[in-house]
Each structure stands twice: as C-alpha cells, then as structure tokens.
C-alpha cells in the first residue's frame, strides 16, 4: 500500500515538472544548466525566461522579475547576473526550431514559435521585408520563452448558463486584454466537445479556427493543449475562410473562434447560422455598449444572434465574470460577479 502511495506521489511531482523539462530541452547548454538550478519553489511559478543579446538573463514568476547568477541563484541586482551573448541566442534557436530554421519560416514571420507542450517563444531580430510584407527574420537578438501551464476548470461555473434545455446557445465573450478570455474560451470548447454527464449534456462536434495559435497552441499542426475529444482545429487559419472550410468539410455543430470583428467574418457567421451551426467567439471590450460602436460585431449583437453574452474583467482578480447577459433583452443572469480563481 505504502509503495502505491509513493508511486502516485512520485508521478505527481514528475507531472508538475514536465512543462519545465520541455522548456529546458530547448535552451542552449549554458542556460539550461542555470535554469535547472533555480530554486524549486520559484520554478513551479516560473512564467517567462527572457534572453536579450548582451543583457542579463532574466526570469519572471510570482509577479516579480529576477536576474540569475551562474549557480542558478535569484538576484535582484544585475551586477552578478549571467550575461547573454549572441551565441546563446543562436544555439537556443537551433533547439527551439529542432535544428531547422528553414522549417519555421512561417512562424518567424509571425514572430513566435510554439514548441511541444504549447510553450510560446517570442523572437526579435532583424526583419527582412519586401513589397509583399515581412519576408523573414535574421540576426536574432532576443527571446522570450513563455511557459504554458494548462489550467482546466475555468468554464465550470459558466457551462450551466450557456445551455438551454440541453442545447448549446450562441455565446459571445466580451473582455479587456489580459482577463483570461482565451483561457475561458478554451475551457468552454473542451467542455462542449467532451460533454458533461452530470449535467446531462451531450458532447458536440466543435470546429475551432485558431488564427493566432492561442487556443490550441499547436506545434506543427498538432494542438498541444486539450481542446476536447470532438474538436477539429484549423491552425493559423484566417477566421472567415476557416469557418467556411469547417462548414464545408468537417460538419461541426459548434464553431469557435477568437476575436471576431472583420467584415468578412460576418459573411461566414451568416453562412454558419444558415447551416444551423452554433457559435462561440470573443471580442475585446468592457461592456455591451462598447460593441455598438464597432461595425461588424455591433450589428451582430443588435440582431440578437448571440443568446448569451459573458463579460469578463480583472476587477478583483484575473478572470472575474462580471455578468452573463441573456441575448434577447440583455437581462443579467447572475446576481453578483463570480470570482473565477482557476483562470490564469
């Protein structure tokens, strides 16, 4: 018995270290050694590793940034911190791109690479552009390695509100930046896709158009974050085209996208509604009134396509659900804002 308990314990520790292991594997040997020796308590909350040419190595976590000494100790002053050189960045990029810069040209144009595990690495350097726009990037000067820790359960409290008589309702999430909009959408997608036996909800086929690779954090087309068992994902696909492709090809019951707002989007939305497909999407804003000024999304909201409108804020903490409006007469369905702790 004791051994079994021990095994479970050991496994748990291992799992919590997986995100960092994946990140460590993509660092150049010198930096890898240093990051490995960071204090364990800090490592668990580590969010960013920043490398800039000729500047000290920095790590960010627990709302604070530190410099790092050669033995992995955290420093507040940069005097003794490790200085990053060009070779560190170039070598790290070799591992990030799996020794193949030529294979990540598209990603370089967008300025970031997503590696296995969904960790996103932002890259800066010299941009080569021509008349058609950005061609590629070279002479890399900085890396920002953002560690992704999947947080499940953000949508738990919302799910009962976005179904009516067992049927999913068109939903719009309104939120200012950095309020957990994408995390919430991802968790809702997973819930719709998997279904919920306790609430008697059947799993639905969900088509996701992930224009900025934020929902699935795909690495070579394969989603690294769990989006549910009945989810089909188009990675880095323009929203309108992607929605049409999904409608034609994958027969989804629900289509999910992030940040809708272009003219072409409304055509795709109409097409989806005609085909009897439900929608869930997000938009930047603070309130419903904010949206009336925006052309496409304002018209859609006025035509009462969305039956539920969720408003997020970071008033108390990130991910607070301010209100859930009913789409017909904009009645608030919750009495007081819900604190949604899981959202990161």
């Amino acid at each position: 018995m004791k051994k079994v308990v021990n095994d479970i314990f050991v496994k748990k520790i291992d799992e919590s270290q997986i995100p960092l292991q994946q990140v460590e594997e993509s660092l150049c040997p010198e930096i890898r050694g240093v990051i490995k020796h960071l204090p364990v308590s800090f490592k668990n909350g580590l969010e960013e590793i920043r490398m800039r040419v000729n500047q000290p190595l920095m790590v960010y976590g627990n709302d604070c940034d530190y410099f790092v000494g050669s033995a992995g100790q955290l420093l507040l002053e940069h005097a003794n911190g490790i200085i990053i050189n060009k070779k560190n960045i170039d070598n790290t990029l070799q591992f990030i791109s799996n020794y193949s810069i030529y294979a990540v040209e598209e990603e370089l144009k967008r300025g970031y690479i997503t590696i296995k595990g969904g960790h996103r690495i932002g890259i800066t350097g010299k941009i080569i552009s021509d008349s058609k726009g950005i061609k590629t990037m070279k002479d890399f000067s900085g890396l920002n390695i953002r560690i992704s820790r999947e947080k499940k359960g953000a949508a738990k409290l919302i799910i009962p509100y976005i179904y009516e008589a067992g049927e999913f309702l068109n939903t719009l999430i309104i939120s200012p930046p950095q309020c957990g909009k994408t995390t919430l959408l991802r968790d809702i997608i997973r819930n719709i896709s998997n279904g919920n036996k306790l609430l008697g909800l059947k799993g639905l086929k969900v088509g996701v158009v992930d224009e900025r690779s934020e929902l699935g954090a795909s690495c070579q087309g394969i989603p690294q974050l769990d989006l549910g068992i009945r989810t089909d994902l188009l990675d880095t696909c323009p929203k309108a085209e992607g929605m049409m492709m999904l409608i034609r090809a994958m027969s989804p019951q629900v289509i999910a996208t992030d940040e809708i707002g272009k003219d072409s989007d409304s055509v795709a939305i109409e097409e989806a509604l005609k085909a009897g497909i439900k929608l869930i999407t997000t938009v930047h804003g603070k309130s419903i009134e904010d949206l009336y000024g925006k052309k496409v999304i304002g018209d859609i909201v006025k035509s009462k396509i969305f039956k539920r409108i969720i408003i997020l804020s970071n008033r108390n903490e990130v991910g607070t659900i301010e209100a859930i409006y009913e789409g017909e007469d904009f009645k608030n369905l919750i009495n007081s804002p819900i604190r949604n702790k899981v959202v990161n």
Binding site: E25, L27, C28, P29, R32, D90, N91, Q94, F95, S97, N98, Y99, S100, I101, Y102, A103, E105, L108, T136, K138
Partner: protein
C-alpha cells in the same frame, strides 16, 4: 624447384592483389562521391518541398542513401533526437570524423562534408539551397578529379602490383 615455383606464384598473386586493393580505393572514392551527390540532391529537394525538420530529414536521407554515406546521416539524426544540447555544427563534425573515416572518402571530401554542417539548418530555405548547392558544386569538382585519378591510377597500381610481384619473384629465383 616446385616449392620455389609455388612460392613465386604466391608472391605474384599477393602483390597483384595489393595493387588491386590500392587501385580500389580510387574506384570506391568515385562511387562514394557520386552517391554523396545523390544524397545532397535529396537533402536539397526535401528542404525545398517539404521543409522536414532536420532530425527526421537526416533519418529519411540516411535510409534512402547507400549504407556507407547513409550511416553518417543516420548516426547524426540519432544524436539529434537525444536532445542532449549539442549544437549541430559540433555534433556533425564529430560524426564526420568518426564515421567518415570508415568510408573510402578522402580527407578533402570529409572536409567538404564538415562544411555542410556549418550552415545546415541555421538559415531560411533560400540560403539553405544556396549553401547545399555550393557544397554540391565542390563535391562535383572532387568527383571529376576522382574520375581522372581513377582512370590514371587504377591501371597503374594494378600493373605495378603485378610487375612488382614478378620482380620480387625473379630476384628471389
């Protein structure tokens, strides 16, 4: 008398075999260089058309190439997949040193192979293609030289072996 005669024949056979072996190094170098050209061509095509990441690409090329050349690619991809944090350039020149010596390639050919590792994987497709073409051009030049050397030397060493055998046999008689 008979023993002397047999002994002489043995010497002649051995010497001509030695000449043959020496001549063979030229033949096999030519063959290997032409195979290397084919492998490099495959490398270029794969990079242009499928942008396969290097570890997988090296395995593919290694399997499709002739064993002597393919072995270098396969060994390299095995090491890359271990993710030990070695840079490509460093790892590649080590592999070429250790595996390349087992092939019949000359030092100047191995030097070219090492040069391939300097830039492989570190630039965009256009520059990769330029880089591989440059190496191919150099390999091709070595190949031409190898053919000339082969034509010149194979016959020479074979005959030299035979004649040396006769010479020794006559002196000992």
């Amino acid at each position: 008398m008979i023993i002397k005669f047999i002994f002489s024949i043995v010497i002649i056979v051995c010497c001509s075999m030695l000449g043959g072996i020496y001549a063979n190094t030229y033949t096999s170098r030519t063959k290997l260089l032409s195979q290397l050209l084919v492998s490099l061509q495959m490398l270029e095509t794969e990079i242009i058309y499928s942008a396969t990441p290097l570890p997988l690409l090296l395995t593919n090329i290694g399997r499709k190439s002739k064993p002597e050349i393919g072995n270098i690619f396969i060994k390299a991809s095995e090491i890359l997949l271990k993710k030990e944090g070695l840079t490509f350039n460093f790892m590649w020149s080590k592999i070429v040193d250790s595996e390349g010596q087992k092939t019949g390639l000359f030092d100047e050919d191995l030097e070219l192979l090492k040069q391939l590792g300097n830039n492989l994987g570190t630039t965009d497709i256009d520059n990769q293609v330029k880089h591989i073409r440059l190496i191919m051009e150099e390999v091709r030049r070595n190949y031409q030289e190898a053919i000339i050397a082969e034509n010149k030397n194979v016959k020479l060493y074979k005959q030299l072996g035979l004649l040396a055998g006769f010479a020794i046999a006559i002196i000992l008689f």
